[in-house]
């Protein structure tokens, strides 16, 4: 099994006619209801290109034509370059990659087990941890550090990431200037603007706020980044029952409309700009109104949204692998596995929040990362599928062994076991009870904690060239002295 070359797409949760129905209704939503665009600059661009703009309420009605033309302009594949080219992400078709949980503020301390606020040192440690975890393919803003300038936490987190993992980097931003600085950091690591065009070293995500509103900061960031050709993730995250309709179909419809509105703007700013279709939607628990991050409906909605993206021939960013549990327990295991598997089988290209998160995306846990890496390994095995060839059908071996024999001593068996036909758990225990007791009766959390400690104590990452490190530091310093002052 090559974890860098896996495909999903086996799951079709929507039929072709349902996909087309959703598409047509999304165009109706944009044309009849419209979408709030807070930025005057964006309103101007949309109006010049034929949209109906009500300036008094900043609501834009997009014509079907505008949206459909923009969709045709979007590239259907996207290279996201990593420092180590073997870890490049080729977001296209049904290819599947997994990334970590993003933006938690709290960390479950690896030494004390206590929950505390996340720090810049955590940003470094978690980046190094996922660098070592084989089934986590990319980095995405893993901790919101609480001990840095709160105006630019993304710059600190991304600097820490470039220095502590060779995997591909992505982040969101919280200001127009910050978004451009993320791009500049990507350019610095790529080795200049031209090199960045060949091998873009960062992707930035910007989401709408449901229902149907794009904020000024996000629009400005989107327009600036589109102009320079920085890869973008455009999407939204309606929550069924509160910020989106309760039925999942309505939620998908809203998510599609909001995403289409953003993508249309991007293509009007710069035709053929690289943009990834973003899905983050889930439901609210209607007993409280709280976001249900571990809901199985999240997996279903994301699976459907992936089908919509494939209908539009766009690379996809999606969500799956979260939990509302407070600790790495059985609830976490079930919620995470179901979501991540659903989204992977739907062919999500760039699946984030697939590991490490607990407590409704507020808490990051080292041991949970290690456990989730195992879960993702198993999902990778599922994606690798069942190859049916004369060799794998094993007719000759069945004939050779015959009734009442066994397959243990065959070279054929050895060959296939060695080449990864069976996924061998890195952590999960398959020993007999006696063996398990003799090894200390350890529970998976304890085993995972030890593994995480071992990784952090030993794993080394190839450092960035000194001049690149200096450039990144200079970008942050400039930000500190200007807009983040």
């Amino acid at each position: 099994m090559d974890p860098w070359n896996l495909k999903g797409g086996q799951l079709k949760i929507l039929s072709q006619s349902e996909i087309e129905k959703i598409h047509q209704q999304a165009l109706d939503v944009l044309q009849e209801v419209g979408c709030f665009f807070e930025s005057l600059e964006a309103l101007d661009v949309l109006e010049k290109n034929g949209a109906m703009v009500d300036h008094s309420i900043r609501v834009v009605k997009l014509t079907r034509n505008m949206v459909e033309i923009s969709l045709k302009l979007c590239p259907s594949s996207m290279l996201l370059a990593a420092r180590n080219p073997k870890q490049d992400i080729h977001a296209e078709g049904d290819r599947v990659y997994f990334g970590p949980g993003t933006l938690p503020v709290k960390v479950s301390d690896l030494e004390t087990g206590k929950v505390r606020m996340g720090t810049l040192q955590d940003c470094r440690d978690f980046a190094r941890l996922i660098d070592a975890l084989e089934f986590i393919h990319f980095f995405k803003f893993m901790i919101t550090p609480q001990d840095v300038n709160p105006k630019i936490p993304e710059l600190y987190a991304v600097d820490a990431a470039y220095n502590n993992t060779t995997k591909q980097i992505s982040s969101t931003s919280f200001s127009r200037e910050g978004a451009m600085d993320l791009y500049r950091m990507g350019v610095a690591v790529a080795g200049g603007e031209e090199a960045f065009m060949e091998r873009p070293m960062i992707i930035v995500n910007m989401l709408a706020v449901s229902p149907l509103q794009w904020s000024k900061v996000n629009l400005e960031a989107i327009m600036d980044l589109a102009k320079v050709g920085c890869p973008l993730i455009i999407g939204s995250e309606p929550q069924g029952g509160t910020t989106g309709p309760a039925p999942l179909a309505g939620q998908v419809l809203l998510n599609v409309a909001e995403t289409l509105a953003g993508i249309t703007l991007v293509q009007l700013i710069k035709p053929n700009a690289p943009v990834m279709w973003g899905n983050v939607g889930s439901i609210s628990d209607m007993r409280s109104g709280l976001f249900a991050s571990g809901a199985v409906e999240l997996g279903m909605v994301n699976a459907a949204m992936n089908q919509m993206a494939k209908f539009y021939r766009l690379p996809t960013y999606s969500t799956g692998g979260m939990s509302d549990s407070k600790i790495p327990d059985a609830q976490a295991g079930v919620e995470k596995s179901l979501q991540a598997l659903l989204v992977a089988l739907a062919g999500g290209n760039y699946i984030h929040d697939a590991a490490g998160l607990l407590e409704c995306c507020l808490l990051a846990s080292h041991e949970q990362y290690v456990i989730d890496n195992e879960m993702l390994g198993m999902i990778c095995r599922i994606l690798d599928g069942i190859r049916v060839t004369p060799d794998t059908l094993s007719f000759d071996q069945i004939k050779q062994v015959g009734p009442r024999g066994n397959f243990m001593g065959l070279r054929h068996t050895l060959h296939h076991v060695r080449s990864g036909e069976h996924y061998l758990p890195r952590l999960f225990d398959r020993n007999t009870r006696d063996t398990w007791i003799s090894r200390g009766s350890k529970d998976i959390r304890e085993i995972a904690r030890q593994k995480a400690k071992e990784i952090l104590a030993t794993h080394q990452v190839e450092p960035l060239p000194q001049e690149v490190q200096d450039e990144l530091t200079a970008i942050i310093r400039r930000a500190e002295e200007t807009y983040a002052k």
Binding site: T144, R287, S288, L362
Partner: protein, 215 residues
């Protein structure tokens, strides 16, 4: 007769039926039932029942919202009558709420606003993306007693600290109770920045405010 009207008010609110609750309110006025009594012993009593049911997970959020909407519809009929008869709909306290600068997420704030309003407080919901200065200005203008700050984004939480610092610098820290809410916020954070309280959800926010104001 007044008992019958109060009972019907409570029942129609529990049924979340705007039209019926308004009919009952009109009937009450026609029969000379005290409007204040209808608000307190009819409408608010029913909302308290709904609030308890919501807090214990026995009803869904939309039921709470619809009951509050029905209550609003009835109060809209009763309040003018109350004023005409020389009375006032005495509120329990003055509460101002906003989502801090940089945050345009408003669902949590809206739920708190609604529950506070239906619990009998005067609520000034000044919206989203409000700077510390804007919030303080509005608090002064509306003579707020409690100020609720809401944040969903982890990056806008520092604005809460900034607001408390602004109060201190202006020498107004003791004039207002400041409470916090929002997914990334915690009691620990509230303590760390010197807020007067934190509530994990809307029903607890109402309890917290009642406690802070001793009402």
């Amino acid at each position: 007769m007044s008992e019958e009207i109060l009972k019907q008010l409570r029942e129609t609110i529990l049924e979340m039926d705007d039209a019926k609750v308004q009919d009952v309110a009109r009937k009450g006025i026609a029969q000379g039932v005290d409007p204040l009594e209808m608000i307190n012993k009819g409408i608010r009593a029913a909302l308290e029942v709904m609030g308890d049911r919501f807090a214990t997970g026995n009803i869904f959020l939309p039921e709470m919202m619809l009951a509050a909407k029905a209550a609003d519809a009835a109060v809209a009929i009763l309040e003018p009558e109350l004023l005409r008869s020389g009375g006032t709909n005495q509120k329990l306290g003055r509460f101002l709420i906003a989502a801090v600068k940089g945050d345009i997420h408003d669902i949590g704030k809206n739920i708190v606003s609604l529950l506070m309003k239906s619990s009998g407080f005067e609520v000034f919901d000044i919206g989203v993306d409000k700077s510390s200065e804007e919030i303080l200005e509005a608090a002064k203008a509306n003579q707020a007693e409690v100020i609720g700050l809401s944040a969903l984004l982890t990056t806008t939480m520092p604005r809460m600290r900034e607001f408390i610092e602004l109060l201190q610098e202006s020498g107004l820290r003791d004039k207002y109770k400041v409470i916090l809410g929002g997914a990334p916020v915690s009691q620990e954070f509230a303590d760390a920045i010197g807020a007067d309280g934190y509530a994990a959800d809307a029903t607890r926010a109402v309890e917290l405010i009642r406690r802070l104001l001793a009402r």
